[in-house]
Symmetry: C2
């Protein structure tokens, strides 16, 4: 089936298993136009109340001295690591093997900043203090991702997390929090964002994903680090004349979704309990610790994908199309992120959709 046919099936669906309801650019821009004060002036090269007020509010939420808005997390994180590397005096940076910098950025950290990545721990498990202690090279900076996206959004316990960061702090190893999905951790830890971020020297957060902004991110940390980060942002080509579409949509996303995250997380646990009843399904982590999980489906990938399209046509509910491969040839991975659209589906309805899916693969 070609891309246009799949697209037309998506278009015909009114309900969606994962994430939020789909919106076109026109719908997003109309909402922003309708919710923005007509007198609000634009930002210019990172200056102006529209952006500085937002930076201040996020710095406050994260309990950090200062914050800078950037177009992408890729930019925020390379820059944070570069600054810490120069202060620490070594270009070694330690992170999980599935770190975004390692697998999604064509290793920009190496090509642009000459940083040396040390992959710590197993790609299929959380990075532990023991993993970090086993590193034989000088540790420059340590990057920790909460939750660990590529293993289904897993989180260490608060005790494990604080023990790890007490160890790095004793050794004056700078620590950076990859908080691409930090907003989703709060129900698990039952602590404020500031309490979580206080464990780290710097933190990056994102405004699309669960917050449904257009794009954009913030790096927060000590004032001198953020001032230096603004220099690097310009060097990267990220100090744009206007960032206001992203800033405004980030604000809107926080207003709409931040208070809903406990509901999304609760629903993820319900969905996991429901789907675990099907023998063809494995859930990681089980129970989910955030609003996301990996759902592993047993079967042939082509048949599962084709069946999902048929179910979409029959029921008007979009499930998935591109299952990802796993080391087990007979299991395929669905990244299941619970959002506003998922809440429209009752748990027994989700069970029925998957039962129907598997019945088509028999």
């Amino acid at each position: 089936m070609d891309k246009a046919e799949i697209e037309s099936i998506i278009q015909s669906c009114s309900r969606f298993l994962t994430r939020h309801h789909r919106r076109t650019p026109q719908q997003v821009l109309s909402e922003l136009a309708a919710t923005t004060d007509p007198r609000l002036e634009d930002d210019r090269y990172g200056q102006g109340e529209i952006i500085s007020n937002f930076e201040t509010s996020i710095a406050g939420l994260l309990g950090k001295e200062a914050a800078v808005f950037m177009p992408s997390g890729t930019m925020c994180q390379q820059i944070a690591l570069r600054i810490w590397a120069e202060r620490r005096g070594t270009n070694n940076v330690a992170f999980h093997p599935t770190c975004h910098l390692e697998i999604h950025e064509h290793q920009g950290y190496r090509h642009l900043h000459n940083l040396h990545g040390i992959l710590v721990g197993s790609p299929y498990r959380l990075l532990t203090l023991a993993d970090l202690q086993a590193v034989a090279e000088p540790l420059g900076t340590a990057l920790i991702e909460l939750p660990q996206r590529e293993i289904g959004g897993q989180l260490p316990s608060w005790e494990e997390l604080t023990a790890l960061l007490a160890w790095t702090r004793e050794r004056t190893i700078p620590t950076h929090l990859d908080g691409a999905r930090l907003w989703e951790c709060q129900p698990f830890y039952q602590r404020s964002y500031a309490e979580i971020a206080a464990l780290f020297d710097s933190v990056y957060v994102s405004f699309y994903k669960i917050l449904d902004g257009i794009a954009g991110s913030i790096l927060a940390g000590p004032a001198d680090v953020i001032a230096e980060a603004r220099i690097w942002q310009r060097r990267h080509g990220g100090n744009l004349v206007h960032l206001y579409p992203y800033v405004l949509s980030a604000q809107r996303g926080l207003e709409k979704h931040l208070g809903r995250i406990p509901d999304y997380c609760a629903k993820a646990r319900e969905v996991a309990a429901t789907l675990a009843q099907l023998p063809q399904i494995e859930i990681v982590p089980d129970p989910p610790q955030t609003n996301m999980m990996h759902v592993f489906l047993r079967g042939e990938a082509d048949r599962l994908n084709a069946a999902a399209l048929t179910v979409a046509q029959e029921t008007g509910t979009w499930l998935f199309y591109d299952l990802a491969p796993t080391p087990l040839p007979n299991y395929h991975k669905l990244e299941f992120t619970v959002g506003e659209a998922t809440l429209d589906l009752a748990n027994d309805e989700i069970f029925d959709l998957f039962a129907r899916l598997f019945s088509k693969c028999e």
Copy 2:
């Protein structure tokens, strides 16, 4: 006078000497929402018709094989130079002393890409073939800016330009066109954008400035170079999940302003002829070659800036506030860019505004 007071004077003005009419984010977003097809789907990480169709159309306009949309020119140009440097086998890049890479980017080209800038020619004159021939180091890549913004938008004649680029081509020196204001050159050369761009191996164009887009830029060139540029774009953190606000506003800007540029350029020549009658004014270049010029005002900077505010309050017409210093302590520089707002002012009215300004400084 503090920033808020100045801002309130700007707000009270209904007419503006330079550029386009001021619009707030809400006005810009409302226009985009009203002019965008409600069915148009968003882009994702550089993919999707909304962005690829636009890239194709700009590649066509510039007569290049391929094009990639990026958030900023800073990103486009560093990336183009990095690619050419690796192909050429030397990190030396030659450009004018006022090149954007040298003076506005905290030398990202050096810090991120280890490129070595060779400043060619005088900061106050156009870069010439003789200047290039006088370089004693191996020439890697040559960057030429058309028009040369920091000297009032000056342009070499077509004969000078083609002679320079014939010389580089004979030596297989890759050439990159900094076309931040390329759109403004067309009336001077009376040639298509494709004919101008054909002289160069790669070209960057911008969609804010005279086109009044929110931000955004395009790098165009051979298909293999553009494919490689997409890798570097991701490394820079510029491959955003959604760029559609910038793409849509770039399209809108082209529709609204590209056909108006001859009018802006004609008006610039009229304004120059008008202002040259005042003994306190020098124009560079005279006559203007694009829609921009530098207007040098004789007097004390503080008095001129204060007088401009008083004129704004008295007439409701905003002139300027931050004059730039020059090597002559008694002359101060105004970058005068003719846009839609300038066309609202008759030439004798512009004369009167400046005569009134100078009378307040006596």
